[in-house]
């Protein structure tokens, strides 16, 4: 029986079909079908992926909503879900990763680090280009600027706090 999954990498969203056969697994992506064998090695992070009879060493680490996958020197963050529920209502994000929600723009941490400055408070009006807060990471100060004018609705972090990449920082409307 073929199962369908929705897979997203960056702005690329694809439906992937997985079908088990006696020889291995057949996977269809973007109209192309591949013969695949997947073999876990040394536990659950290292895999041997054999794609059309060519083996490759791949590392996969589970993360919320998907996997971090390392192929050669590159790391890819891939989101995946079953397609049974139908087309997902994927959150709308702009190119900086700001997430559009019913309540406004949710500002997510672009990297892990320490919040070294918070320049805004709830209720404060901001202009496009204003510095909202600064995240310090590995000796670099990274200013987060307002991408839209509006009012700060909520501030989820404080000065000195450690944040992880993708963590909600502010709500702007």
């Amino acid at each position: 029986m073929a199962e369908k999954y929705l897979v997203g990498l960056g702005n690329w969203l694809e439906e992937v079909e997985v079908e088990e056969t006696p020889e291995g697994v057949r996977v269809t992506l973007g109209g192309q079908t591949y013969e695949v064998r997947l073999e876990p090695l040394l536990g659950n992070s290292l895999y041997l992926l054999e794609l059309d009879q060519r083996p490759t060493e791949i590392f996969a680490q589970e993360r919320p909503g998907g996997y971090d996958i390392v192929i050669g020197p590159h790391r890819y963050t891939v989101l995946v879900q079953s397609a049974r529920a139908g087309r997902p209502t994927a959150p709308v994000r702009d190119e900086e990763g700001w997430q559009s929600t019913a309540a406004g723009w949710l500002v997510l941490a672009p990297m892990s680090g320490i919040v070294s400055e918070v320049y805004v408070a709830a209720g404060q009006a901001v202009q496009e280009g204003d510095v909202l807060l600064v995240i310090e990471s590995m000796k670099m100060n990274n200013e987060l600027r307002a991408r839209y004018s509006g009012t700060v609705r909520e501030v989820h972090v404080g000065r000195g706090q450690r944040v992880e990449q993708g963590q909600p920082l502010l709500l702007l409307r």
Partner: protein, 510 residues
């Protein structure tokens, strides 16, 4: 000789010093912040002491706390590594005041070279050419007059500066006033000293530095040059020894300058003189680093000297075990700084837990790192997580081995700049040795050409989600035979580790 030495640092350099101590039969003492409880340098040292919370100000830069631990542990020497307190004259003085030997030059020399204006003055006195520029600027008018004389473009620099901070490029006279104001504020905030000066901006230019080591008996030996032109935002990324731009005549000239400079200030311990080499072949003194450099291993590989061991020996009062005539350069060494940053998103820092690490090996490969599976790469500290150094009988072999080693290197859990290094090793200008400090801007393509890999990543994610649904924990499947096949040599060198062979879509209907 010392009995016990404290390493006032963390990461790979702390481990490097601990290794030197072990070779010398000296007991090592590590210090660590709360973020580094499980760090490798803590586990490898003979003793380790917690010194404070993760932020450097409260731990690795906390002088009273470090001195307190040093006394409690009963050490007779402190090695500062590089960064943190390595060029802090007050720290060197505090060690001295507490009867502990600081492994480095005297506090006076550290203070002298830390003041870029005084350093320029002293070097001029010694007869070493410096980058054309001014003394301390009193006001904007004086700066403007000096700027017209020096010519544009120029650099506004902080006397207490370093690492590109408090520095501004000025291309036209109209920009000078605001650049001075910005640099003054930045320098004041970063160094507590807003003294500024102007230097001519030389371009194109190569960054070449000279390693010296001196003992307490007046001996100074020069250990050749290093090429450090592959930089981004004044941060070195790749270094090599020797330099393709330095022939024997220039090497002898540099050796003469470095000896002159080191003797003039009564230098002892390991130190580095940084020079700029312009397109006309002129060398200009830039600054002197009064410490061990990150890139010291390339010098070690071509000279056979153990710089850290010798640094400790001369600090203990021993004379250098070799003289200038004993120094012979052999072969070529290259170092790639492996940083936890994503070269495809503007080198954004990437912190996280390391799920898996595999270090490269084989002929001509050396890795200095404190990487270990399970270790947290914390956002509090420098992004440097490893130094990959290769040696070859010539530059070409060193590059070939570097490509092999980069392809073997696996870090899972954070993004690294390994893809950047792979690109550089294949760049014709780099391979030809023809480059300057503008190389990264000119040649690096911040885009990956790997649709096939992306597709594979998506396939794999679907497969994993599929097996997860069928069995909550994927159990290892015992394969009847190994499915591994030898991969081609080109693939092993990182070129298209594999390819996806596409099938016709009619197969879907079967």
């Amino acid at each position: 000789m010392f009995r016990k030495l404290l390493v006032a640092n963390r990461g790979e350099i702390a481990l490097r010093v601990i290794r030197a101590c072990r070779d010398l039969g000296i007991q090592s003492v590590a210090i660590y912040s709360e973020a580094d409880r499980a760090a490798l340098h803590v586990r490898q040292a003979d003793e380790a002491y917690l010194i404070g919370p993760p932020p450097p100000r409260e731990s690795y830069l906390n002088i009273p706390r470090i001195i307190e631990v040093a006394k409690k542990a009963g050490v007779d020497a402190i090695h500062p590594g590089y960064g943190f307190l390595a060029e802090n004259a007050a720290f060197a003085q505090a060690c001295q005041d507490n009867g502990i030997t600081f492994v480095g030059p005297s506090p006076e020399v550290i203070g002298l070279m830390g003041d870029k204006l005084r350093a320029r003055q002293v070097m001029r006195e010694a007869g070493v050419p410096v980058v054309p520029g001014t003394g301390q600027l009193r006001d904007t008018e004086e700066a403007l007059a000096a700027a017209r004389e020096i010519g544009f473009p120029l650099l506004v620099k902080a006397a207490a500066g370093g690492g590109g901070r408090g520095m501004r490029t000025v291309t036209r006279a109209e920009e000078l006033a605001s650049a001075l104001e910005l640099a003054r504020r930045e320098a004041g905030a970063a160094f507590g000293d807003d003294t500024l000066y102007i230097e001519k901006l030389l371009s194109p230019v190569r960054h070449i530095e000279v390693q010296v080591i001196g003992d307490l008996h007046g001996n100074v030996v020069v250990l050749g040059e290093r090429e450090c032109s592959i930089q981004r935002r004044h941060q070195k990324l790749i270094e090599e020894a020797p330099s393709a731009a330095v022939d024997q005549r220039r090497r002898e000239y540099l050796q003469e300058l470095a000896t002159l400079a080191a003797r003039h200030v009564g230098y002892y311990s390991a130190g580095t003189l940084e020079f700029l080499l312009d397109s006309q072949g002129n060398f200009y003194f830039l600054e002197m680093n009064t410490r061990l450099q990150v890139e010291h291993p390339v010098t070690e590989l071509v000279t056979g000297v153990d710089l850290v061991v010798d640094q400790i020996l001369v600090a203990a009062g021993e004379p250098l075990g070799y003289c200038q005539a004993d120094v012979q350069l052999r072969g070529w060494a290259i170092e790639c700084r492996i940083n936890a940053e994503d070269p495809y998103s503007n080198f954004r820092p990437s912190a996280g837990t390391l799920h898996y690490v595999r270090l490269p090996g084989g002929p001509g490969v050396r890795v200095d790192s404190a990487l270990d599976t399970g270790v947290d790469v914390a956002p509090y500290y420098d992004p440097l997580i490893a130094k990959l150094i290769t040696w070859g009988r010539d530059r070409q072999q060193a590059i070939t081995r570097m490509k092999r080693a980069l392809a073997e290197f696996k870090v899972v859990g954070v993004s690294t700049n390994i893809p950047f290094h792979m690109q550089v090793m294949n760049e014709p200008a780099f391979v030809a040795g023809k480059f300057d400090t503008g190389f990264v801007e000119k040649h690096f393509q911040a885009q990956r050409d790997s649709q096939r890999e992306e597709r594979a990543a998506m396939l794999l994610a679907a497969l994993l989600a599929h097996s997860r649904r069928r069995a909550p924990r994927p159990a290892p499947v015992a394969a009847p035979e190994s499915r591994w096949r030898l991969r081609g040599r080109l693939e092993a060198l990182g070129q298209a580790p594999w390819s996806v062979r596409e099938r016709n879509s009619w197969r879907r209907s079967t």
